[in-house]
């Protein structure tokens, strides 16, 4: 092995340790028995303790008790898991209906006030969530949507990032393709549905993935807008479990990671591809 290869291997090893070890840590925790997790929480809590905090890797008796507990004895966990799927799914669906249409208009149609409209989207994109949160809370109260899942879903479905991202991508579709469709007698709606949407597939997948990932990990929105624990998404319920030092916390984390990880394995390449085509 020559010197260049060695440094490359070293580089990859460091990256893998820094970024994959936490996953391994959580996975390892999920294979502990209930008593071992409880003991482990106690060890972490005991701040004054001496010596090295044990990693407990591998667990004393690796088993799947935590998973069984989650699926058979914790209906509230299953409920929040289903909630997360519903919230993320509905948000993505809403986004896919509205955002590409707006992006198409911004990228490919000529009309007065276009720059202004684009700025409207960008302005909101730049604002951190906390700045918008108070107003959103008031709006949801006025709409009688407090403690309703729609209070989480609607702002995500209309998130301006999706519009901005998609219109950047749609710039890469050559005008001649659209003109050809027009000459063939297609109206704007048909051009949009038959030409632009299929050509934007990679970007649609990418932005759907990013929207889903954002919904899957949200914390502040449910803290602010929901008051019933039964309606929490899994991301927040995990935090509740962690606070209660529940024995099945690590298994719950693993289950929370799996869907988003699978999506990433499936669509990660498409994500990168569409980013390469997006001019920013």
């Amino acid at each position: 092995m020559n010197k260049k290869n060695l440094s490359l291997v070293l580089f990859c090893a460091i990256a893998a340790i820094l970024f994959l070890f936490p996953c391994l840590y959580v996975l390892n925790g999920s294979l502990m028995s209930g008593w071992e997790t409880v003991l482990y929480w106690a060890e972490i809590q005991n701040v004054g303790g001496e010596g090295f905090l044990p990693l407990r890797m591998p667990p004393y008796e690796p088993n799947l008790h935590q998973y069984l507990e989650l699926f058979f004895q914790r209906p509230e966990f299953l409920q929040t898991l289903i909630n997360s799927f519903l919230y993320a799914g509905t948000s993505v669906l809403g986004m896919l209906i509205t955002a590409p249409m707006a992006a198409f208009a911004l990228a490919k149609l000529r009309f007065s006030g276009k720059r202004m409209v684009l700025l409207l989207f960008v302005f909101v994109m730049l604002l951190p969530y906390q700045v918008l949160s108070v107003g959103q809370y008031m709006a949801m109260r006025a709409l009688d949507l407090l403690n309703s899942p729609w209070a989480l879903i609607l702002p995500e479905a209309f998130a301006p990032f999706a519009v901005f991202f998609l219109q950047q991508y749609m710039h890469s579709i050559p005008d001649s393709t659209l003109e050809a469709a027009t000459i063939d007698g297609a109206g704007r709606m048909q051009t949009y549905l038959r030409v632009v949407l299929p050509l934007s597939r990679p970007a649609l997948i990418a932005v759907a993935f990013l929207t889903a990932a954002k919904c899957w990990t949200m914390i502040e929105q449910p803290v602010l807008l929901l008051s019933t624990e039964r309606k929490y998404p899994l991301s927040l319920f995990l935090h509740v479990m962690m606070g209660a030092q529940a024995s099945a916390f690590f298994a719950a984390c693993v289950i929370a990671i799996v869907p988003i990880f699978l999506l990433f394995l499936l669509f990660g390449d498409t994500l990168m591809e569409s980013l390469a085509l997006t001019e920013s």
């Binding site: 490359l8 208009a105 009309f111 700045v131 899957w216 990168m272 920013s280």
Partner: protein, 277 residues
């Protein structure tokens, strides 16, 4: 309005309605809480002055600024370096950028459980300090939390920026690269004169996203240390969140409005900084 315009706006309509209903209208309407007093009478800018004088707000603002000033450039430099290194090693580019991106989508609670172990007084980081003859630090219960939060920020955000930068570099024509090599340019010169200029526009975009993430670090701090963390990591967002929860909507909205121009100042700085490198 021309016919062409009408059809374009029809395409925009659903999105614009959502944008107005859930972002603009609430944001603008909430101004009444700071502009009007409790009985609904106009009180001008008094509400803003109150917020500006509040010591907690000042602390929060200072910390938020510090986090942004330290975090965003560090993140961009790290991501750009990594993107360039990976550009020279196309064989592992996909895998490594995938791995580095992973933390961005991990549930925060899982990440925090790991950080609680890693930064525990008896955890690996302090063991390392022990080896170097340094005292162990209560990272999670003291002002050193700022350090942990920064690491967390870089760890979670670098991959996200990296994906954008790598994608951009993949557009570099290989012929140009070959020509530069034949002219005797080394990898560092190529990176400086060819790759960095190519990255500039994406750096602005990644910077905007990184900036928004830095502002949203409230979430991480909130989960690590609750509503009232050590003063070193008390951010403007804590001030907004806490004022809101104690029913002082005027202070919450006032702070939100005061931070808004800041967001744009940082954005402008970023654009200028990247343009005139």
């Amino acid at each position: 309005m021309k016919k062409k315009d009408i059809s374009a706006y029809l395409f925009l309509l659903p999105s614009l309605l959502g944008l107005v209903a859930f972002f603009y209208a609430p944001f603008l309407w909430s101004a009444r809480f700071v502009l009007l007093d409790n009985r609904g009478a106009w009180q001008g800018l008094v509400g803003f002055a109150d917020v500006l004088r509040n010591e907690m707000f000042q602390t929060g603002l200072k910390n938020t600024l510090l986090l942004c000033v330290l975090g965003v450039p560090l993140l961009l430099v790290l991501a750009a370096l990594l993107a360039i290194v990976l550009f020279y090693h196309p064989r592992v580019q996909r895998q490594i950028s995938g791995i580095v991106f992973l933390p961005y989508v991990l549930p925060l609670s899982a990440v925090l459980a790991y950080f609680a172990w890693a930064f525990d007084p008896r955890g690996p980081i302090n063991a390392l300090r022990d080896l170097l003859g340094l005292n162990s630090v209560l990272f999670l219960q003291s002002g050193a939390l700022l350090f942990v939060v920064l690491i967390l920020y870089l760890w979670r955000g670098t991959g996200f920026a990296l994906v954008f930068l790598t994608a951009r570099l993949s557009q570099m024509p290989r012929e140009v690269l070959e020509a530069a090599r034949l002219d005797g340019a080394g990898p560092v010169r190529i990176a400086w004169h060819l790759l960095l200029p190519l990255l500039r526009p994406v750096l602005v975009f990644a910077g905007i996203l990184a900036f928004a993430q830095a502002q949203d670090l409230f979430r991480e701090i909130y989960l690590l240390a609750g509503s009232y963390p050590p003063a070193e990591v008390y951010t403007v967002q804590h001030f907004i969140f806490n004022s809101f929860h104690s029913g002082d909507f005027g202070a919450a909205v006032g702070a939100a409005y005061l931070v808004t121009p800041l967001a744009f100042a940082c954005y402008a700085l970023l654009v200028l900084g990247v343009r005139h490198e």
